[in-house]
């Protein structure tokens, strides 16, 4: 079986000849750039700086040689733009806080504030207020909240839709070219077309916008989901309409080589509970996800990918009802997310893309033996009958020992025999 066939079998709940493996296919299944560099060294690959293809979380690009060394079965298709609104490309050298030389896009322009924190700018425009900050000595950026005082009378849903425009011909050409590029690899393809995540809290602050308007403060947005429901419905309704018009054009441009579409990265779980009630999910979010997923299923062969961290066990039936085919990252360390229960209860109805190793404790802080043990156990639990693509629980975080990452890969290979 080719990698693509393995991925397709898993997504269709047929047990593949071996477990397919994803790293780097999406912005939530990636590896921090420092760890990608360490992996290149470990596998003895050509010394060259790693590209930071997702600057917000500082994820590193996995080149063909590293994918081959790790046995990756999935390719990712990404949009041209980054979280900070500048495009990927025009690569140049940049030195991380830890002294590692990496490649960053030309728009990745930074300054330092008086405390030594690194500031980054929307669309690479240093004359605009900075939209992201990496603490001195840090590894990741976070959004800087730029919230104008809210005048309830003047709140306009259009202001929260600035980032959700219609796709341009250039974007369509980019997606088409990217899908063509990866189609020859023989791997499964997951595409992140964007625009279909409703209420994704990472996007609410508008880090790619020079002067975001509307509700951009994270806490204010969460409160608005209860206190300004009409406003949020209007935002989602219009966003959904735009998303479906865009999907029509994108599907026409890229065809059916795509195996899965990353539809939604909105987190609904905390470590111990959910961010809202099941009723609130059903009222406020489910109708829009269902429209998007129904469109995808009616017009394409793509499987739809839902990312949500945290304790979302009780939401899984709702995700399924909304038409999601795949759940990620399957945070087994959160309350109620016992792997055996998840597999038994939902394993025939949703694919687990993740759950392979705990990135909060075992992978960063455990021993290689503990990593191996957990990976083998998770593979035994999730693999029967298909419906499992191996990935860690969210991105591999900075400072994760390379020996542990390798132990994880080796354990997957050991399981595959």
């Amino acid at each position: 079986m080719t990698s693509k066939e393995l991925v397709r079998a898993a997504l269709n709940h047929k047990e593949p000849a071996r477990l397919p493996l994803d790293f780097g296919g999406t912005s939530v299944t990636g590896i921090h750039v420092t760890c990608v560099a360490a992996l290149r060294d470990y596998y003895g690959l050509e010394k060259r700086p790693v590209k930071v293809h997702e600057p917000y979380q500082m994820l590193g690009w996995l080149d063909e040689d590293l994918k081959a060394a790790m046995g990756i079965d999935v390719d990712g298709v990404f949009s041209q733009g980054t979280m900070f609104g500048f495009p990927l490309g025009d690569w140049r050298m940049w030195r991380t806080e830890q002294g590692l030389e990496v490649l960053v896009p030309g728009g990745f322009l930074t300054t330092k504030d008086a405390d030594g924190n690194i500031l980054i700018y929307p669309e690479g425009d240093t004359s605009a207020p900075p939209s992201g900050r990496m603490p001195k000595g840090g590894y990741f950026f976070d959004s800087i909240i730029r919230q104008d005082p809210i005048d309830e009378e003047k709140l306009n849903p259009e202001d929260n839709l600035e980032e959700f425009g219609l796709v341009t011909d250039a974007t369509l050409a980019h997606f088409a070219a990217e899908v063509r590029r990866v189609s020859g690899s023989g791997r499964g393809v997951i595409a992140s077309f964007g625009g279909t995540a409703f209420g994704d809290i990472a996007l609410v602050p508008g880090p790619g916008l020079k002067h975001p308007k509307g509700i951009r403060d994270v806490a204010e947005w969460y409160m608005a989901t209860v206190s300004r429901k009409d406003y949020v419905h209007q935002v989602f309704s219009k966003q959904c309409e735009i998303a479906i018009r865009n999907l029509e054009k994108i599907q026409a441009a890229v065809g059916d080589s795509v195996d899965a579409a990353f539809v939604c990265g909105t987190d609904f779980g905390t470590q111990t509970s959910t961010f809202c009630s099941a009723k609130a999910f059903r009222d406020l979010y489910l109708p829009y996800y269902k429209k998007v997923n129904d469109w995808v299923h009616a017009h394409t062969d793509w499987k739809t990918f839902k990312h949500s961290c945290g304790a979302v066990e009780r939401f899984i039936p709702l995700f399924i009802e909304a038409g999601f085919d795949i759940l990620n990252p399957v945070q087994c360390s959160a309350a109620g997310m016992d792997p055996n229960h998840l597999k038994q209860e939902y394993g025939d109805r949703i694919t687990f893309w993740g759950g392979g190793i705990d990135t909060q404790r075992v992978l960063p802080f455990g021993t290689p033996d503990q990593v191996r043990e957990q990976v083998l156990e998770r593979c035994r639990t999730f693999s029967p009958g298909g419906g499992f693509v191996f990935n860690a629980i969210h991105n591999v975080q900075a400072r994760t020992p390379v020996e542990n990452i390798v132990a994880m890969i080796n354990a997957v290979n050991e399981f595959n025999g």
């Binding site: 809202c276 009630s277 404790r361």
Partner: protein, 210 residues
């Protein structure tokens, strides 16, 4: 005639405008501010916490209630200070060095304030030295440390070590929390307590200063 049940209801319903309105009304009628705190604010926030624990309330409702409570408290606080009223305890709270995440920390701070504690919020990316300095300056009984990232969790231990070196460790109780933090980790780094949510943090703080 203002009554404390209106304040209680306004906070519980997350209605900031009404909470501020009834507080102003009550203070204009010379109602004892401690009565507003003890019969309105604290019971309301206790009920908010209870509803959060049994999953009738979630993060948005908690944020709305906290905002209503704060609106009222801002009016009451100067009057309590004038009287020299002692809080339930003095808390210095912050997200540790290198970490910019603050939703969980803010909720804990609000719930502690609503529980009658005096809270000094140092914000995010707080150095161990800053925690020590402010704990000393504010004569804190409790220091609360928050972290979301695995790469910043070790800053919790560094902060506890800094409190130890400054001779402060016996004077304050250290509480830790945040998504990757566990009771086991709290034990390993020598914290006095761990809480998995904002409501149990208040109960824990009350026990520790009792």
């Amino acid at each position: 005639m203002a009554d404390t049940s209106k304040l209680y209801d306004a906070i519980l319903n997350g209605d900031s405008k009404t909470a501020v309105g009834v507080t102003k009304e009550a203070l204009a009628e010379n109602i004892d501010p401690m009565e507003l705190v003890n019969k309105g604010m604290i019971p309301a926030m206790d009920e908010v916490g209870r509803r959060f624990e049994c999953e009738e309330y979630f993060v948005p409702e908690l944020l709305l209630a906290a905002r209503a409570m704060k609106g009222s408290l801002e009016l009451i606080r100067p009057l309590l200070a004038e009287r020299g009223t002692e809080p339930a305890g003095r808390v210095v709270i912050g997200t540790v060095k290198g970490d910019l995440h603050d939703i969980g920390k803010n909720l804990v701070a609000s719930m502690l304030e609503g529980g009658g504690f005096e809270v000094v919020d140092l914000g995010t990316d707080v150095s161990p030295e800053k925690f020590v300095e402010m704990a000393k300056e504010k004569n804190a009984n409790i220091v609360c440390l928050s972290a979301l990232l695995t790469v910043t969790m070790p800053s919790m231990k560094t902060t506890i070590d800094a409190l130890q070196q400054a001779g402060m460790r016996q004077k304050v109780k250290v509480l830790v929390g945040g998504a990757p933090v566990t009771q086991q980790y709290a034990n390993e780094i020598g914290a006095d307590g761990y809480s998995e949510n904002a409501n149990s943090a208040v109960q824990l703080a009350r026990r520790l200063v009792a």
